[in-house]
């Protein structure tokens, strides 16, 4: 059962120093993009020398992977718990969308790395991440199927609706916060309403 998805220590780095490096790297990657970020700047944020990253992460890419892995696990965990906390399709969709949107708003730096910096991963690392992404998608898919089966939802195209709902959440990390929306809770409320309409509920 020690698969990458389940062992939380797998390749992420457990020491306190590693966590600080991850946090600093997340901010820099989110602000400039992985390609434009330098390991020197990450080290400098922590008042460390340029070489100090390397005892913790062998390469810049492995640091990105650790962040991506941790982030993707957090999203999946968050929406899985949310969906499991409710019983009706409507309540499940409400909980899952709300959690998804809030997570992208609250953790918009991590979220940006999670959603937009994956192209720099090695093939193998990308595959590991892609697996988690598919699992995340499946959570929404199943709720829609459940709702359509129960007659509560009237989705026109299940795949399209899933795609659209996840797009709303993902895109939050691109722009959040804005002048119009800087409260994650309010934003989540609005996007839940739109998601319910997309699936034909009410």
């Amino acid at each position: 059962m020690d698969t990458p998805l389940e062992d939380p220590a797998y390749e992420v780095g457990t020491s306190k120093a590693a966590a600080r490096i991850r946090a600093a790297a997340t901010e820099v990657f989110a602000a400039k993009g992985y390609g434009a970020a330098s390991t020197r700047e990450i080290a400098a944020r922590l008042d460390l020398s340029p070489g100090a990253v390397y005892p913790h992460y062998k390469t810049k890419e492995s640091l990105l992977f650790a962040i991506a892995l941790e982030g993707h696990r957090a999203v999946l965990d968050t929406i899985t718990r949310a969906a499991d906390s409710a019983t009706s399709p409507r309540d499940q969709l409400t909980a899952a969308v709300s959690a998804y949107v809030k997570w992208h708003a609250h953790h918009h730096a991590i979220a940006r790395v999670v959603q937009y910096e994956l192209r720099a991963l090695s093939d193998e690392h990308f595959k590991t991440i892609a697996e988690i992404r598919r699992a995340t998608s499946r959570v929404f898919e199943r709720i829609l199927e459940f709702g359509d089966a129960s007659g509560e939802f009237h989705t026109l195209d299940s795949a399209a609706a899933t795609l659209a709902i996840t797009s709303l959440g993902i895109d939050v990390s691109r722009w959040f916060p804005s002048n119009a929306y800087s409260d994650p809770d309010l934003l989540a409320e609005r996007f839940v309403e739109l998601a319910l309409r997309m699936v034909g509920n009410i």
Copy 2:
């Protein structure tokens, strides 16, 4: 009337060579991100020497700006024409969303640069682009207001719906094409349905 939004030659570069450089740069920026892309690679794609970019664009950033300007103008122009081609709110929304989604699918390389690489722009260039982005948003906003006023739409929150509709389009450039969707027309059809539901039409 020679504002950046209206004079099509403004800072974009009109020569054939400049256009080829823009096209090559678009592909590289889209594939790797601006920060990880090199002017050398752009030149190499056209079998040019590394310095050959510079008679046409003084800096890498100005090349990004030219692409972003051209792209943003194209989007705005496309959806403006689409909206103007119809009269009823529903037809206008259908036309505009369809055009928006299709543009992001067809031109997903340009679109990716347009939507995700703006942080590298200089402050002044960013302002010019931001103006066009606001104009683009306003096209959707006005259609929703028109529909709400006419009673055809029953939008719960106009700003949220505009945001959501544009998010759908923008996010297309992140993932398109996928296994599930590689036909821009089909995708546009599905997303139009979802947009209409979001505004409470049918």
Copy 3:
């Protein structure tokens, strides 16, 4: 009292490697001029890679500044000590001119950088250097004023004589060594005689 003039470590670089880089840069700057010299060549003289200069000096200009600062301090220190070693105006002028001329002859590479490459300095760095240059000039001025007051000298125009005396020394760094003069001591002796005549002594 930690002014740039007095703290010898200020911005010069204290490590052995930095000193070697300064020495190599001095030779190259003196031979080709700052503008025509390359950091690559400086590194190559020490069998280092091109980037190896940069842990020690952040820019080529800061390397020039370090050399200029060290050199200007050395001149000022040298003539100040020389002047202080004597009591009569004639002996002071003799000692100061001799020291000044010998310094420019012995250290003609540093001297050339010190005297001819300052235009490449940043404004702030230039100001720091200009302060030291004024202090150097003042040493000669004061000796002349002292001699005029004591009746030993009969200078016609104090400012002009100071200018001329420093010009003799500075210009040494342009041509030294030549066929006619390659012995710093002999040259200094001759220039001292001329300086004494310029101030009307004997």
Copy 4:
């Protein structure tokens, strides 16, 4: 009799355009040094394209040579005429030093190139220039010898005095104008006095 020293058109360039290019280049070379100056900047000063220099001067170095040649000839001509205009050693020295100093003050841009940028010349070009420099030195030497022979001067070391007198003039081009001296005539007067003292006249 068509030696480089005497044929004024030799390698200098006679057209009006060539003269404008020489003038622009002189300013740029004087301001930044030959090594840091670019042919592009020279062309830009005249609102010409980068390639426009090349119909007139085949290389940047040949442009430097033309300026150096013209300048060196002008100095030699100026002091030769000055010396020839007087009969007594004292009057000859006065006239020659005055002319030399004034020339370096009035033409300080050309003078700077003439005095400090010769290292960039090709060997052959340098030899041509060095010949003129020696001729210039000889003008002063002969005046001193004449004065010593006539008993009007009491030079201690003829070579040293010549060197010192030319140093004064050359160094003017380094600093002129300054706050203290911006009037060539006044400066010349002062330096003539000092030169006369150096040779023991009065």
